[in-house]
């Protein structure tokens, strides 16, 4: 599996949810042949005792929540990819002699990558011309927007907003660039 494919299941789930919401909205608007038919269609679902407009409104609210969750999920997967990619590269120092020293050094490195700032890592890639200024900035802004969604800290309101499609495009482009640059054999 290519590393870019890591984001694909999340993206496809989001698209499927969006399509499902369109189907639901069409069903809510449909003129049913009988009340029984309509009851059968919505029975056992969250829409059971809603009016048609209440049901449509709850679908709209869900879309907003899902969009936020998608951004969090896409970013978490991207973050894990970067961490694992760097830790894998760092394994080169394992097995060196004296072992007791390099094992400790690797543990410190692993911990620092796990807890360190991704902004700094983006700058490494920018300085190595793996990604350009524009993509580096987009990655940093996407992280700020992701933090806003996760914490809603009014003191850290992002200047620029985003959406799942843009986040997916930016992160998948970055993975593509990073993957081809770090996997040089």
């Amino acid at each position: 599996m290519s590393s870019v494919d890591l984001l694909l299941p999340i993206w496809e789930s989001y698209r499927l949810f969006k399509d499902s919401s369109v189907v639901t909205k069409r069903a809510l608007k449909r003129e049913w042949e009988s009340p029984e038919e309509q009851k059968y269609f919505f029975d056992g679902t969250e829409f059971r005792s809603d009016t048609m407009s209440e049901a449509a409104e709850s679908v709209d609210r869900s879309i907003q929540s899902i969009e936020d969750l998608m951004i969090l999920s896409l970013y978490a997967t991207f973050e894990r990819y970067i961490i694992e990619c760097l830790q894998e590269k760092g394994e080169a120092i394992k097995g060196k002699s004296p072992e007791w020293l390099y094992v400790k050094l690797y543990l410190r490195f692993e911990n620092s990558i796990e807890r360190g700032s991704l902004d700094e890592v983006f700058s490494w890639f920018k300085n190595a011309k793996v990604i350009d200024d524009e993509l580096c900035e987009s990655l940093k802004k996407t992280k700020t927007y992701r933090d806003w969604i996760a914490h809603r800290n009014p003191k850290r309101k992002p200047q620029e907003i985003s959406d799942p499609a843009t986040v997916y495009t930016i992160l998948s482009t970055a993975i593509e660039k990073i993957d081809s640059a770090v996997n040089i054999h």
Binding site: I161, S180, I184
Partner: protein
């Protein structure tokens, strides 16, 4: 956009709304509403803001079925320069299909494919968010 729907039989109206962004704060913008005579469909074209990541602005086209977004991109779009395997710099853009500065629709089935907004695309987006069929 208003001109694009003029000969379709739909009715348009413009109203003033206020939007809020972190940097400029609150400011007034025009919202376009598209309806049919029977008021069965209602599509709203709403500016979202100028401060959006990887574009110079975003407008949402909202209808009963959902929303589609169009973004303002500069020529070439957000340019990404990469140096792969220490070879010569390759220049590519985040999106394919940017031929001029303007408003684009990014099709999410084929990511990175941008379509310059014109009458045909706009009416297709209206259909997507409302199921309204243009004849």
């Amino acid at each position: 956009m208003q001109e694009w729907v003029q000969d379709t039989g739909l009715i348009t109206g413009i109203s003033n709304i206020e939007i809020e962004e972190t940097v400029p704060g609150k400011y007034p913008v025009n919202k376009l509403e598209i309806t049919d005579r029977a008021k069965i469909i209602s599509v709203q074209v709403i500016p979202v803001g100028a401060y959006v990541i990887a574009a110079e602005g975003r407008v949402d086209i909202k209808g009963y079925l959902g929303k589609e977004s169009v973004v303002f991109l500069k020529y070439g779009g957000p340019v990404i320069v990469s140096k792969v395997n220490r070879e010569v710099n390759k220049v590519s853009s985040l999106y394919d299909g940017i031929t001029t500065e303007g408003w684009y629709w990014i099709e999410d089935k084929r990511m990175r494919r941008a379509y310059l907004l014109d009458k045909k695309i706009f009416l297709e987006l209206v259909t997507r968010v409302s199921d309204y069929e243009f004849r």
